[in-house]
Amino acid sequence: MTGRIFSLVFGAVLLTACQRESRSFRLDPPIAASLEAVAPMPNGIGGAPPDSDAVLGHPYLTNAYNLNQGKQLYTWFNCKGCHADGGGVTGPSFLNGWWRYGPQAVSIFISIRDGRPRGMPAFGNHLTTEQLWQLAGYVRTIGAYSAMTAAPSRNDEMQSRPAENRAPAAIATPSDQWPATRYR
């Protein structure tokens, strides 16, 4: 009898330990408003991120749901047309970890929201602030130097590059030899 009670209690405790990652679909309005409050440097490179970002634990870099939404937005808003899957076309690549306007997520957010002079369109009118942050967070993780625990869901599209959470910027550039067999 005691054994049965004990196993019941133990099982209940085990189940409560399954903590799901939290997803916020609807930010509180003050927090949503605060996400717009970035203070860029005068040259537009870098700046102070919103205070709420740190308080929430950098959710746009570490929360898998946000990264996944960012990944969906990356396809939907034609980022692939100029940046491919991070390798670059007319726009620069993100994979190599070199950032023209600095690696901070704030710089990337400002780039997407306001555009940049050499051809990056401004998406501030096309996306909400939260979506801009989701996209900026996803783009930041494409050129990550260390492997991450949070990652967007697996690629449903044609295989192009290693998965986002594998620290692609740290992987050495592949050799210059033309592959003997066609890439599959």
Binding site: K80, C82, A84, G88, V89, S93, G119, R161, T173
Partner: protein, 575 residues
């Protein structure tokens, strides 16, 4: 050296005398010697016997990174070259040694277009009617310049970057009109072609590649060569809803003017987006060849080559003219090498299709269209040959003496996955992921094609796709350039390699030839990457992504990076 100086002095005196007689001459482009309708040069000083002795006469470094492709133009004793964007038009005084700059002009540049040009080959001029020099700029301006002193005469904006439009080709002169067409069907820009008054820059007419008959110009004089092209407003009815408004069909290639028939010939680019599923129907009038009246822009005929295009094949390669008997009667022919690997021969008067032979060594194009699954959303179709970039990498050249065509070929294949395409103005409108690869070690080829006999005479395999125009001269030499910077001269009859020179960057421009003020023939080419292959070589491209540079980054994987990527003019002459 001393002898050269003496000749230069004589030339200088002569040129001073001649300049006082300079007046409006016949329309010229790339110097009087290269015929824009055939890319054949009548100069024969350099021929198959002495081309092996060609030496570098001088070089000129424009110092501008980016898409280089424009051919130098000889005007009087000046050699004019247009640098990459942001453009500077340089005039080099050929009477002075080593490419001394006579004047230079840098018009204001809208840098937004840096993000708007990807995969069109850039050859923006200059061209000249003898009196004025005209250039197109990537950010959509056409500028008339006084070539004596380099002063702009007029400057009009014709393309709107906000709509995704840019200019990729120089205007074409049709008597006193400048004909210019836009680029940008990867951005969903609606294709158009316009005529400007060459004296004032005022737009005289503008016709579109999609839309109602009034916009396209298929109302009054149009005689369709195929029954499916007759009907009212096919430019809207062959599209669902209003998708024709961003349906592509750009006129990014060179427009050809035929003074004999008084007609313009131009290509229309692929339909937008690449994904064919959102645009069921024939998608007129994209992916074909138009003949238009240069006075009104009204279309005379249209030959559709890829109705409801499936693969995003580019259509920027120039059309050429040939007068030859065909099927027993004398015909006016239009020669059109196409991205699908076929050489289309049309009757210039009616648009009737006379031949469509594959110039590829393995006729993959036919296999692709008949056996490959039709691309649709979320489906991966593999090994489509030729790849989206097309089988013909640049403009071909036609030897007027033999009627042989020298085609620069690219032999690439692609894996294509169509996705949902979302139209946001000013952003890419493609709807496809693409990886490019090749089935053979020779990714390029120079093909000598006998148009009348309808077969290849010889082929030269190349390790890399050939993305530079070819040039053939009366001296029996064919010049072409490779993506690793080699400028080669081969015998036009046999294909034997006669001479080659390694330049400091990829060759994607137009080799040209001219007769200098000293009366000697020179070969000139600007080295520097333009077009999709040039893009794949840029420093910001990361090859770990197989779709980088629309899949071409991996094709250019084992090409040495350019030693000097900024555009450099190389001029060669006999010693």
């Amino acid at each position: 050296m001393l002898q050269q100086d003496r000749w230069l002095a004589v030339a200088l005196l002569l040129s001073l005398a001649c300049e006082s007689f300079a007046g409006p001459a016949q329309p010229v482009s790339q110097g009087a010697s290269v015929n824009p309708a055939t890319r054949f040069s009548s100069l024969a000083q350099i021929d198959r016997h002495n081309v092996g002795q060609l030496k570098l006469a001088f070089t000129f470094r424009t110092g501008r990174l980016g898409a280089q492709g424009s051919a130098p133009l000889l005007w009087g004793t000046k050699l004019l070259i247009l640098s990459a964007f942001p453009h500077t038009l340089f005039a080099l005084d050929l009477t002075r040694p080593n490419g001394t700059i006579s004047w230079q002009l840098t018009p204001a540049a809208n840098r937004v277009v840096d993000g708007l040009h990807c995969c069109d080959r850039i050859h923006l001029g200059p061209i000249s009617n003898g009196n004025r020099v005209y250039i197109g700029t990537l950010d959509g301006h056409v500028i008339a310049v006084d070539p004596q002193h380099g002063q702009p005469v007029w400057d009009v904006a014709v393309a709107d970057p906000a709509l995704g439009e840019t200019l990729a080709s120089a205007p074409t002169l049709a008597q006193d009109r400048l004909i210019v067409g836009n680029a940008g069907d990867d951005f969903g820009a609606r294709g158009w072609i316009a005529a400007l008054d060459s004296n004032t820059g005022r737009t005289l007419w503008k016709r579109y590649s999609t839309g109602p008959d009034q916009d396209v110009g298929t109302r009054r004089e149009f005689q369709p060569s195929r029954p499916e092209d007759s009907g009212i407003d096919l430019g809207t009815h062959s599209w669902p809803g209003t998708s024709w408004q961003h349906g592509g069909g750009s006129v990014s290639g060179w427009t050809l003017y035929d003074p004999t028939l008084q007609l313009l010939f131009h290509n229309t680019g692929p339909a937008a987006p690449w994904n064919p599923e959102p645009r069921p129907g024939n998608n007129l009038w994209t992916a074909g060849v138009f003949a238009r009246d240069p006075r009104t822009g009204e279309a005379r005929w249209f030959t559709g080559l890829h109705r409801h295009g499936l693969y995003g094949w580019r259509n920027g390669s120039a059309n050429l003219i040939l007068e030859h008997a065909w099927g027993g009667s004398a015909r006016s022919l239009l020669i059109h090498p196409d991205a699908d690997g076929r050489l289309y021969v049309m009757d210039r008067k009616t648009g009737e299709l006379l031949a469509a032979d594959s110039f590829l060594s393995e006729p993959r194009a036919q296999k692709t269209s008949s056996t490959a699954p039709i691309p649709r959303t979320n489906l991966q179709v593999r090994n489509i040959c030729p790849a989206w970039v097309g089988a013909v990498g640049a403009d071909a050249a036609l030897d007027e003496a033999t009627s042989w065509l020298y085609i620069p070929v690219s032999r690439l294949c692609m894996d294509l996955e169509d996705r949902s395409a979302n139209y946001i103005q000013g952003t890419p409108f493609i709807g496809a992921n693409v990886r490019v690869n090749s089935n053979s070690a020779a990714r390029g080829e120079l093909v000598a094609w006998n148009i009348v006999a309808r077969k290849a005479v010889w082929r030269i395999p190349e390790r890399l796709p050939i993305a530079a125009d070819t040039l053939v001269t009366r001296g029996g030499v064919v010049f072409y350039g490779t993506l690793d910077g080699m400028l080669k001269a081969v015998d036009a009859h046999t294909g034997a390699l006669l001479w080659q020179f390694k330049t400091a960057a990829a060759l994607t421009g137009q080799p040209t030839t001219y007769e200098g003020p000293d009366g000697r023939q020179y070969i000139a080419v600007v080295a520097g990457a333009s077009g999709p292959y040039g893009l794949a070589q840029q420093a910001w491209i990361d090859r770990r992504d197989a779709t980088a540079a629309r899949g071409l980054a991996r094709v250019m994987a084992n090409v040495d990076p350019p030693r000097d990527p900024s555009g450099t003019l190389y001029v060669f002459g006999l010693p």
